[in-house]
């Protein structure tokens, strides 16, 4: 009986583990804003990207590396995807699965960037890629409207830790 339970649990875990990695949650901007304004001492590394953006795709491994390297620290990597919501199943989910992305991926479902881009950062013009590093407890903030190499990203994050 306990063996059956163990087997069932194993099967469940096997099914669930990769499923977790591939999850893409669709959110609207107010939810993202709420999440980024929580008074936590966790440093958020928020990367805005899209599957159609070549420099974004190129720099993704750097964010995955940061997530793995600082897994034991209070660091949270959020990959905010800006593909159209209509592309969720056709493009975004297969991309996340294919690349084996382990960081949390959110698809921001908003049609008019003029409504929200300036609220993420007043200086961001909307060009991708864009990366924001914030710590609400220490009120530290850094924004990059360009591609970051893994070295640049790590150097920028270290100033927060």
């Amino acid at each position: 009986m306990s063996r059956l339970k163990f087997l069932l649990l194993s099967v469940f875990l096997l099914l669930a583990a990769p499923g977790f990695a591939q999850q893409v949650t669709v959110i609207r901007f107010p939810e993202l804003q709420k999440r980024l304004s929580r008074p936590t001492d966790t440093t958020y590394v928020v990367n805005f990207w899209a599957t159609w953006c070549a420099p974004c795709v190129k720099e993704l491994p750097g964010f995955e590396l940061v997530r793995a390297t600082y897994a034991s620290r209070k660091v949270k990597v959020l990959l905010v995807n800006l593909d159209y919501a209509s592309q969720l199943d056709k493009k975004v989910k297969p991309f996340v699965k294919h690349r084996g992305l382990k960081s949390e991926v959110l698809l921001l479902n908003e049609s008019d960037p003029n409504d929200w881009v300036g609220k993420v950062d007043p200086k961001w013009s909307g060009a991708l890629p864009f990366t924001l590093i914030i710590n609400n407890k220490t009120k530290q903030r850094a924004a990059f409207e360009r591609e970051l190499s893994p070295t640049e990203l790590t150097a920028a994050l270290r100033k927060f830790l």
């Binding site: 953006c53 003029n114 881009v117 013009s125 890629p129």
Partner: protein, 202 residues
């Protein structure tokens, strides 16, 4: 006093850093005078804003062949020229991407486009830097004042890149309606998602 000095030094350093890091990167704001340029069109001829004496202004759009957002807006850029060129505001398209980074934006690749307006290569990327263009597409409306051209609108074409049929606010057309009526655009600067300009690697 010995507490104030470090504070003042910090203030001074911050002030200094804001001068050192900001000015060139910021580009034009609405109301700024736009400097003319001389860029090569896909037909081989050089084009400047001063060439067209009849122009009341220009719709300058930084765009390219390769960016999916530029592609999504291509027909809408063509439509802007069709609508506003006869009213004195022709479109001038400028491709700022470094072909070494985006081969699909080479001068040769640009020849595949057959527009009724100039499609210029900003080879040195100086024009894009001067304007403060950061992405494709990135649009600037210029209005003639004597021999000068003044920036009257900066930003997005409309509020829905995915589907032109679902557009609720046509930012450029709204601005143009006011500008053509001799008024300042109520919404004169908007943000849009786009592909970061492929800057030359140092």
């Amino acid at each position: 006093m010995n507490k104030l000095l470090p504070f003042l030094t910090l203030c001074f350093a911050l002030l200094l850093s804001s001068f050192v890091t900001r000015p060139t990167a910021d580009g034009y704001k609405v109301g700024d005078k736009a400097t003319d340029f001389k860029l090569k069109n896909i037909d081989g001829k050089m084009v400047s804003l001063a060439d067209n004496k009849a122009a009341k202004g220009y719709i300058v759009v930084f765009t390219c062949n390769t960016c999916p957002f530029a592609q999504a807006y291509e027909s809408r850029i063509v439509a802007l020229n069709t609508k506003y060129a006869p009213l004195g505001y022709p479109v001038v398209a400028i491709n700022p991407n470094d072909p070494a980074v985006a081969p699909g934006d080479s001068y040769a690749a640009m020849q595949s486009k057959k527009y009724a307006f100039p499609y210029l290569q900003d080879e040195s990327q100086e024009v894009a830097k001067t304007y403060g263009a950061t992405r494709t597409p990135h649009l600037f409306i210029l209005t003639r004042q004597g021999n000068d051209f003044v920036v009257s609108y900066i930003g997005a074409i409309d509020d829905n890149s995915e589907d032109a049929k679902l557009v609720k606010t046509k930012y450029v057309e709204n601005a143009m309606t006011e500008i053509l009526a001799g008024k300042a655009a109520t919404t004169n600067s908007t943000k849009a998602i786009g592909c970061g300009i492929k800057w030359r690697r140092a």
